[in-house]
C-alpha cells in the first residue's frame, strides 16, 4: 500500500468534510451574530433614519442599504466594531438621500403636474401599532412623541444625529464620534446644543 493510501479519508467521508465543517461552523456563527446584531439595531436605526428623512419608505431604504453594506463589507470585522460602523454607514446614507431629495425637489418644482408620493393610500391594518397600550396611556405617549418628533425635526442635522445616537442608541462619546465622522469634542458640543434646544422647545410639555 502506498503512503498516499494512508492519507485517504475514511470510507463515506468526503475529503473536505472536517475542514469544511469547521469553516461552515465559523460562517454559521458569524451569520448568527450578524443577524443578532442587526436585529438589535434595526428599530432604532429606522427611528433615526425616519427622524432624518421624515419619510417611511426612504427611512426603510436607508436602513436596508446600511445593513447590506455592513454585511458585504464589514461582516468579517470584530463584532464590537459593527455598531459604530453601521451607524456611520447609515448617517452617510441619510445625508446622501437628503441631498438627493433637495436636488429632486428643485427639479420637481419645474414640473407642472406631479403626484405627491404621500398621497398613496395606506393600508390601515398594516399601519396599526404592533402592541396593545391602554387608550389613555397611548394618548399621552402620542402627545409626548409628537412633541419630541417636532422638536427633533427642527434641530440641525448634526445635533439631531448626536442626540439620537447617544440618547436612543446609547452610543458613548467615542462611538458617536466614529459614527458621525467627527471628534469627540464636537460630539459633546452638538449633543449639548441639542439638549439645550430641546429644553427650550419642550419646556411647556415638561418632557
Amino acid at each position: 500500500m502506498s503512503a498516499f493510501a494512508t492519507l485517504a479519508p475514511p470510507y463515506n467521508m468526503p475529503a473536505t468534510s472536517r475542514g469544511g465543517t469547521l469553516l461552515n461552523d465559523t460562517a454559521e456563527a458569524r451569520s448568527r451574530a450578524l443577524n443578532q446584531f442587526l436585529k438589535s439595531v434595526e428599530l432604532k436605526a429606522y427611528k433615526i433614519a425616519q427622524a432624518g428623512l421624515r419619510h417611511q419608505d426612504d427611512a426603510l431604504d436607508a436602513v436596508q442599504d446600511a445593513m447590506l453594506q455592513l454585511a458585504r463589507a464589514y461582516a468579517n470585522r470584530p463584532e464590537e466594531e459593527w455598531k459604530p460602523l453601521f451607524y456611520r454607514i447609515l448617517e452617510n446614507r441619510i445625508r446622501d438621500m437628503q441631498r438627493r431629495r433637495t436636488v429632486r425637489g428643485r427639479v420637481m418644482a419645474w414640473l407642472p403636474f406631479r403626484r405627491d408620493e404621500d398621497d398613496e393610500d395606506l393600508d390601515p391594518i398594516a399601519q396599526a401599532p404592533s402592541q396593545d397600550v391602554p387608550p389613555v396611556a397611548r394618548l399621552e405617549i402620542d402627545e409626548a412623541m409628537r412633541a419630541l418628533d417636532a422638536a427633533l425635526e427642527e434641530l440641525p442635522n448634526r445635533q439631531r444625529e448626536a442626540f439620537l445616537l447617544r440618547n436612543l442608541e446609547g452610543l458613548d462619546v467615542a462611538q458617536t464620534a466614529q459614527a458621525m465622522g467627527c471628534s469627540e469634542g464636537s460630539v459633546k458640543t452638538h449633543y449639548f446644543r441639542a439638549l439645550q434646544a430641546l429644553r427650550v422647545k419642550l419646556g411647556e410639555f415638561e418632557l
Binding site: N35, Y46, Q56, A128, P156, S183, E184, G185
Partner: protein, 154 residues
C-alpha cells in the same frame, strides 16, 4: 440656527439630565409603536443582509484566491517600500517636531474647534453651562441621567 441662545443660563446640568432621561423613555416607547408592516420590512432587509454576508461578492470570488495566494507577498513588499520612501522623503524629524503631533487626538480636537461653528459659538458666548454640563457628564449619556431623573421629577 442656535435655538438655545440666550437660554443657556437658565438650564442647569440637572435639568438637562432629567430631559435626557425623559426623552429616552419617550423614544423607547416610540420603538414599541412601530407598525407590523415596517417591522416585517426590516426583518426582510435583515435576512437579505445576512444572506449577502454569507456569499462572497462576484469580484471577491474571482480575485480572492489570486490575491491571497499569489499577490500577497508582493503587495506587502510594495506597501512597505512605499511607507519607507514616504518616511524618508518627509524627513523623520518632522514627525516629532510639533506639540500637536505628539498627541493626534488633541490635534484633531483643536482642528475641530476651529472648523466647527457650534464650538466657536460656545467659545464666543463664554457659555459656562456647557463646561458645567460636560464636567458632570460621563462617557455614557445615561450615567448621570438616573440621578437627574430621580431628583427632578416634573
Amino acid at each position: 440656527m442656535n435655538a438655545g441662545e440666550g437660554e443657556s443660563s437658565a438650564t442647569t446640568p440637572l435639568q438637562l439630565r432629567g430631559l435626557e432621561a425623559r426623552s429616552r423613555l419617550v423614544l423607547e416607547a416610540g420603538l414599541t409603536r412601530i407598525d407590523a408592516h415596517t417591522r416585517s420590512r426590516l426583518n426582510q432587509a435583515r435576512q437579505a443582509a445576512v444572506a449577502a454576508a454569507a456569499r462572497p461578492s462576484y469580484l471577491a470570488r474571482i480575485f480572492g484566491s489570486l490575491t491571497s495566494r499569489a499577490l500577497m507577498p508582493a503587495t506587502g513588499a510594495a506597501a512597505a517600500a512605499v511607507l519607507v520612501a514616504a518616511f524618508m522623503l518627509s524627513g523623520g524629524h518632522h514627525l516629532t517636531s510639533s506639540v500637536a503631533d505628539n498627541n493626534p487626538a488633541s490635534a484633531l480636537d483643536v482642528l475641530d474647534l476651529v472648523t466647527d461653528d457650534d464650538a466657536m459659538n460656545l467659545m464666543e458666548e463664554n457659555d459656562s453651562s456647557f463646561y458645567e454640563w460636560a464636567a458632570a457628564q460621563g462617557d455614557n449619556p445615561g450615567q448621570g441621567a438616573a440621578q437627574g431623573a430621580g431628583g427632578e421629577t416634573t
